[in-house]
Symmetry: C2
Subunit: 604 residues, 2 copies
Amino acid sequence: MTEPAGRLAALRALLADRGLDGFLVPLTDAHMSEYVGAEARRLEWLTGFDGSAGTAAVLPHAAALVTDGRYSLQVRRQVDMALWTVRELPAEPLGPWLAAEAPEGARIGYDPWLHTRAFVEETEALLAPRGARLVAVSENPVDALWTDRPRPSDAPARPHDLALAGCSSAEKRARLAEALRAEGADAAVITALDSIAWLFNIRGADVPRTPVVRAFALLLADGRATLFLDEAKATPELRAHLGPEVSLAPYGGLAPALAALGGRRVALDPSLTAAAIAEAVEAAGAAIRWMRDPCVLPKATKNAAEIAGARAAHLRDGLALTRFLAWFDTEAPRGGLDELSAAAQLEAFRRELGALCDLSFDTISAFGPNGAIVHYRATPATCRAIAPDGLYLVDSGGQYPDGTTDVTRTVAVGRPPPEAVRAFTLVLKGHIALATVRFPRGTRGGQLDALARMHLWSAGLDYAHGTGHGVGSFLSVHEGPQRIAAAAGAPGIEEPLRPGMILSNEPGFYRAGAFGIRIENLVLVVEDPQPGDEREMLAFETLTLAPIDRRLIDPALLTPAEAAWLDAYHARVFAAHSGALDAAGRAWLAAATAPLAAPAARAA
Amino acid sequence: MTEPAGRLAALRALLADRGLDGFLVPLTDAHMSEYVGAEARRLEWLTGFDGSAGTAAVLPHAAALVTDGRYSLQVRRQVDMALWTVRELPAEPLGPWLAAEAPEGARIGYDPWLHTRAFVEETEALLAPRGARLVAVSENPVDALWTDRPRPSDAPARPHDLALAGCSSAEKRARLAEALRAEGADAAVITALDSIAWLFNIRGADVPRTPVVRAFALLLADGRATLFLDEAKATPELRAHLGPEVSLAPYGGLAPALAALGGRRVALDPSLTAAAIAEAVEAAGAAIRWMRDPCVLPKATKNAAEIAGARAAHLRDGLALTRFLAWFDTEAPRGGLDELSAAAQLEAFRRELGALCDLSFDTISAFGPNGAIVHYRATPATCRAIAPDGLYLVDSGGQYPDGTTDVTRTVAVGRPPPEAVRAFTLVLKGHIALATVRFPRGTRGGQLDALARMHLWSAGLDYAHGTGHGVGSFLSVHEGPQRIAAAAGAPGIEEPLRPGMILSNEPGFYRAGAFGIRIENLVLVVEDPQPGDEREMLAFETLTLAPIDRRLIDPALLTPAEAAWLDAYHARVFAAHSGALDAAGRAWLAAATAPLAAPAARAA
């Protein structure tokens, strides 16, 4: 029963035993996490799809898997298309499919710890016309079948250095408590793992690539709090760090603790709270105050210490990437490199600098056609040799105590086709337009997205993913609430960009079966007062420091201002890293960052 | 009692007699019109403010008038600031003021024919904490005091030529009836005057500057309809045009007709339907199907005949404006012109061509500091002489049987200050960025707004109004649903732009006390397929044909592509009009439209 067909059949049989006509299998956990521990990868176990976003719906006669544009190609490679109907967000949400396919009067199971109440209500509204409904299950049937399901991580919870956090947990809790009182709430249940890590200044290793601790928190309006986590994590060191205002309780102790909140007003975030928690709060006789997780905005707007850390992390990370790119330029033409060995070498360069805690996500190391698979992960089965001619795309990042990085570079191996040079230059023009825009305070990411696309649009091209996501401070590489994207109603695009927010700037272009291009730097939102300004203006400071392949740029397509930006950026990159490189490395970087007008550019 | 202080006092006394603590006075009519007949200008009668948007709230001890950024300066000039608290949208909605100022338990009157149910519900929610509430009045107290209130217009309702409409009313009604059946509705109440004019292919003159007929319509799901309008308008010619499927009833007959809908499902547009109509539908025992007025989208997406008409109307209108600009260039330096005489001459040039039915709005003819008053209307009191040096801004348009126009030009009189030239050039760069953008089908106006602002933003400048509004076909000069604007949640910015939609492209810049700049052309959304496109691309075709003042352009600030756009546009303008001009006019236009690189540009 190790292969998907058998697992799907077994699930259907078990559902029938339990009097259910269907079941929903999302890729998340009880914290509504985007990235989850191995124990929560039920979607992959059932379908074989190992992308980072998706939900499966199983019915007696049909099964659907919904994901998004990033995974168009990958999902079709990984799942048995004879068993699964693939749908793609935002155009093809799961709900309408379920409403159309569900048998009359169907009882469709769901795990109330893995869905928000809003999702449950929306889905039930869609099912109502067919007399079908959702049924909460107390035990997840997938877990009953997944005999070799991993146990949750037992990694320790460690204090996060105050010098890096820039603000003590006591101070954060005091400010949030004040906000809760202002909202007329007596307490808040904090479920998001990165919010908990931020609020208590702790970091862990319970989720791959994200230094969070698997825990829930109950914050009271007087600043005291209870942290619910595995007993093994409650070390004396942790207790000493948290202090007397924070009591520890077992991970499973949240529900009982909620039962004691009768008569209180409890703040819950509608998008981060499992339906089971909302039920427990109401069952306790407490009133729910639906509001955004109060950690979200202060976490997103980095303080001075976090900003200093981000700059230091990017300097370090940029040096490692620069060494890799120099090495790659020498090795790739010789042949003998493949996607996995290149990624391993990049990780080695990052580790060599000593401060790396983990990668911030699985490296995307993609050569040629694999580059067109937006969130491609090389496996022994798919791994391509890097040779002789083609585009190599590497999207990677590091988790450092002082910051989280995320950077994509696309480099030419051999002679790049003119079509790729043109597309790369159009992507670069969009990247520069976003990197250089000044905008009034209050501007939302959704207003700026088109700046990154307009040059591709002029050629009838586009890319099927967002332009910018928030990034945490030694936390999640995808952090809300801000976002730069095109999709109508995409979460975060209506969020005003505020000084201290860190976002990615990552336009791209993908030619299925041929190549992928993405140019990604992280940028920091900064105040940008200048003489003559009549508005309070903000701008982006580019944090990432690594060369952009000049061999893929057609200077004739750049305006003087765009060429000047690239030259100035490259001068910054050279100044940042040249001192740390040996003579050969410095010579390579000097050529890689030479002004576009310089002979080297033509030589390439 | 002719002056505002007396009127406000009299209203308060009458409210007290009627046991009311307050009253709301919006500037709209029973059709939720933006532009209304003189009989509905209660706001102006009460406050003296004659802008096109605003609502007043009167309480025993305080009174507020809310309008928007366009009227910041004008409202303060026109209303007695000792009597009125002025608030500005979007930052300062009326509701919170009312909730803060209303006495405990206040009963605040409103006319249910002048507010939507949504407005009533939102306002009541804000008032609830104070135990205050809204009370529907059967007779509007303003009307009781407004002794010399004008009678509604008795202008006739005339058929709109089928060759210009491009689609018969019967065909439109058949399509809409099908849409209603698809929505499970038995009927729809159409209240918007432009929807009614479009649906029945009729035009009138009941609202200044907008060729609509004051009427309601009840459309049945079988395509039959009843048109409710003043008996005097029910001429044999109109009956013959409408045919046997459309019955006529008195304007006041809507409410009784609704009473006969018991048990039916009636479609109402939440944003266009007066609360009184929703009450009447429910009182009749009918069920409300809230949905968008089914006329809105087909009306906004012009058909081939309407597009041909728009091009013809803009050719004609551009010729009149070009003649005016040539005349102005000769006359202005001589002195002796003022804002009113210039506007009169522009209207004369439009009339001279024979097809003008009316202006599409009161001409904005503003010299120097008056140009900074975004929706300025010259009056004998405010009228400025045009001399000797300054910027002249003229925003005007015509209503022609084949189309509605709206165009703004800003021209220099004497030597323009360098600051104005820089600002004008930045505004022009934004105008060009929007005029030349290609975008994938599905793109919304809100995504494109920043293209028109980014160059101003780079200098720390901006403008406090939208960038583009929809325009009707011989109908309202402000037509939904599409819109290009920045404000979060502004109506229409999430509406996908569709081929056939007409919008304005009108970035601007305003220096209070000094000058105003706006460059406005109307553009048509067109399909723009090109070799190599990987998306279905749309683009804008500029409809407006009149020169843009080269003396206000700093060519050094334009990219070669921007300069090329302007030169190509000017070549189009010259080709369009030169044949219709006398020798002197042709010579003027040749110079006004000469390529930027040409000596003339320097000479200026």
